[in-house]
């Protein structure tokens, strides 16, 4: 994001020098703190982005408890749980990548990040299988709803919430994966060290947020 890596020298310890400090910061710590704080603020906005969906979920659940119950039983508990484990594990590898990058072990960090990206991809594949099932069954939102097994009123609304929540979440998974790939490439170039690891940290924070959202979505959609 800052100066290109080619202009920077390799230190004896085996990682690149940190990019030059932007002119308006006095110390690198101040810069890092600013980047981290900015990321946390952004995560705050993400929490509120999902707030509307969750509010809608609880509102409609209170209107149509039977339909939500029925529809929730039609989701694949196995795939949902599997996806939960995938995301939790990818969160672990991202956290470990952060640790390794901070200690200058760029190669380890690279492989850990790639593992996370793979798990993210796995998550999306499983999601795609679930979506496919819904499309075949006609368990679709709004006017496309033609799923006969939901006998109580409110079925179409459940699927609006379901598709919007998981769709928005999947979009975040895609963005998160792109961020992870981007920092993984920079790990491959050995850019990170104790003096400079903000990109890994911030991409990791974003990925953890994706995990957080799923931690709530999983029980609300699949279990309750």
């Amino acid at each position: 994001m800052e100066a290109s890596a080619t202009a920077r020298k390799m230190t004896p310890q085996g990682w690149l020098e940190p990019p030059p400090l932007p002119h308006h910061y006095d110390t690198p710590e101040n810069h890092q703190a600013a980047l981290r704080f900015g990321m946390w603020l952004f995560l705050g906005t993400e929490v509120l982005l999902f707030a509307g969906i969750f509010t809608g979920y609880f509102t409609f659940r209170s209107y149509f408890p039977e339909a939500f119950d029925q529809a929730s039983r039609h989701l694949s508990l196995f795939l949902g749980t599997l996806n939960t484990f995938l995301l939790l594990t990818s969160s672990l590898t991202v956290a470990l990548a952060h640790y390794n990058a901070e200690h200058g072990k760029n190669r380890n960090a690279f492989w850990l990040l790639m593992a996370s990206v793979l798990m993210g991809g796995g998550f999306l594949c499983i999601k795609a299988i679930e979506y496919h099932e819904k499309f075949v069954e006609g368990a679709l939102p709004g006017k496309f709803f033609r799923f006969a097994e939901i006998t109580h009123p409110g079925g179409p609304v459940f699927y609006v919430v379901y598709f919007f929540a998981t769709g928005l979440h999947a979009l975040h998974v895609v963005v998160g994966m792109s961020l992870l790939i981007w920092v993984a490439v920079r790990c491959w170039r050995k850019e990170f060290s104790a003096a400079y690891y903000s990109p890994v940290e911030n991409a990791g924070l974003y990925w953890h947020l994706v995990d957080l959202v799923w931690i709530f979505l999983y029980p609300l959609l699949y279990l309750v």
Partner: protein
């Protein structure tokens, strides 16, 4: 005093019990508002005159607020605001809790007209007749988008939400004619969606509604006869038209799925049906007819007692036609029978 202020503020006349209360609070609030904004303006101007810059190197002392000033700056406005809120909220709670003996009128907004209906009597477009000095509760809904019933002279307003009912009430005090406006933007003719409340003396109203009921019955008979003559094709086809016209298909579907508010009509005829109280009956003509006239006596298990009573709203021949239509709905024939339906 009341009259003077009302005219100064361009308020419409006060034609409900609620209007007086609202206007008195209104005067209180608006007078304080005008006085305080004038005071702030005048003090600022006064300071401007008194402390205008007299020389270019004039100095100013450091002035900071005292604790008393700070406390007053917070507490005085707060006291006023909370007092207004308390009075206003009391009135609002009154407005949102209709008295139990209030007469109900159903109001429906649709683009771009108002319809009014009395539970056991006539209905009308655009004009709402109400008795003076009796509480009237409006049960308001909309057929398409959000509208809002606004009767300025009563100081009453409530949105008409599609798919649900809202309520408000009033007791009109003066016989007369008052305008109804739509205040929730609803499309091209929003500004022409007007109606009228006609407040009548109580006796006159009783007389009116009796007359209307007589007229309604007569008219219904005429309509039924006419439709019987003009109907082309089978009784079942007529029944389908009645079902559409009466809005039956809002809740009962004819596509064979079970997602509706009421039981599906497909394959219903002669079907063994379990009721909410555990009995099992056969859905024959008698049951179907009874369900139209007294729908909440025998509720099918798994459904809410939501269906309104059609006693007096559909004629005998119409009910028979409906039954014929339901009979015709068999799953092997659903496609032809429901034709244009979803």
């Amino acid at each position: 005093m009341n009259e003077l202020l009302r005219r100064m503020l361009f308020l419409p006349e006060q034609a409900s019990t609620f209007a007086q209360d609202v206007d008195h609070l209104h005067y209180f609030v608006i007078i304080v508002t005008m006085v305080s904004s004038a005071a702030v303006g005048l003090v600022a101007l006064g300071f401007f005159w008194k402390y205008r810059r007299r020389s270019e190197d004039q100095t100013t002392p450091f002035v900071a607020p005292t604790a008393i000033f700070e406390v007053l700056a917070v507490s005085v406005p707060l006291a006023f605001f909370l007092a207004w809120f308390a009075i206003g909220f009391r009135d609002f709670v009154k407005l949102s809790s209709p008295p139990p003996d209030a007469m109900d009128v159903y109001v429906m907004g649709k683009q771009w007209m108002w319809k009014f209906a009395y539970p056991d009597g006539p209905s009308s477009v655009g004009v709402l007749h109400v008795p003076a000095n009796r509480p009237v509760r409006l049960l308001i809904t909309s057929r398409d988008v959000i509208h809002s019933v606004f009767i300025p002279a009563f100081r009453v307003k409530m949105d008409a939400q599609p798919g649900r009912y809202t309520e408000t009430w009033f007791t009109a005090t003066k016989p007369g004619r008052y305008q109804i406006l739509c205040t929730e933007y609803c499309g091209a003719q929003h500004s022409k969606m007007w109606g009228e409340v006609v407040v009548m003396a109580p006796e006159a109203f009783d007389e009116w509604i009796k007359e209307q009921q007589r007229g309604l019955v007569a008219r219904a008979d005429v309509l039924a006869d006419e439709s019987q003559v003009s109907i082309q094709g089978s009784l079942a086809q007529w029944g389908k038209q009645v079902a559409v016209a009466q809005g039956c298909l809002r809740c009962h579907n004819v596509s064979g799925t079970e997602s509706a508010t009421g039981p599906s009509w497909v394959d219903l005829y002669q079907q063994p049906t379990r009721l909410a109280d555990g009995r099992e009956i056969i859905a024959d003509e008698a049951y179907l007819t009874e369900s139209m006239m007294e729908p909440n006596v025998k509720i099918v298990a798994g459904y809410q007692p939501l269906m309104p009573n059609y006693q007096g709203k559909i004629s005998g021949p119409e009910a028979a036609a409906l039954v014929e239509y339901i009979k015709s709905l068999r799953s092997d024939r659903t496609q032809q029978a429901t034709g244009g339906e979803e």
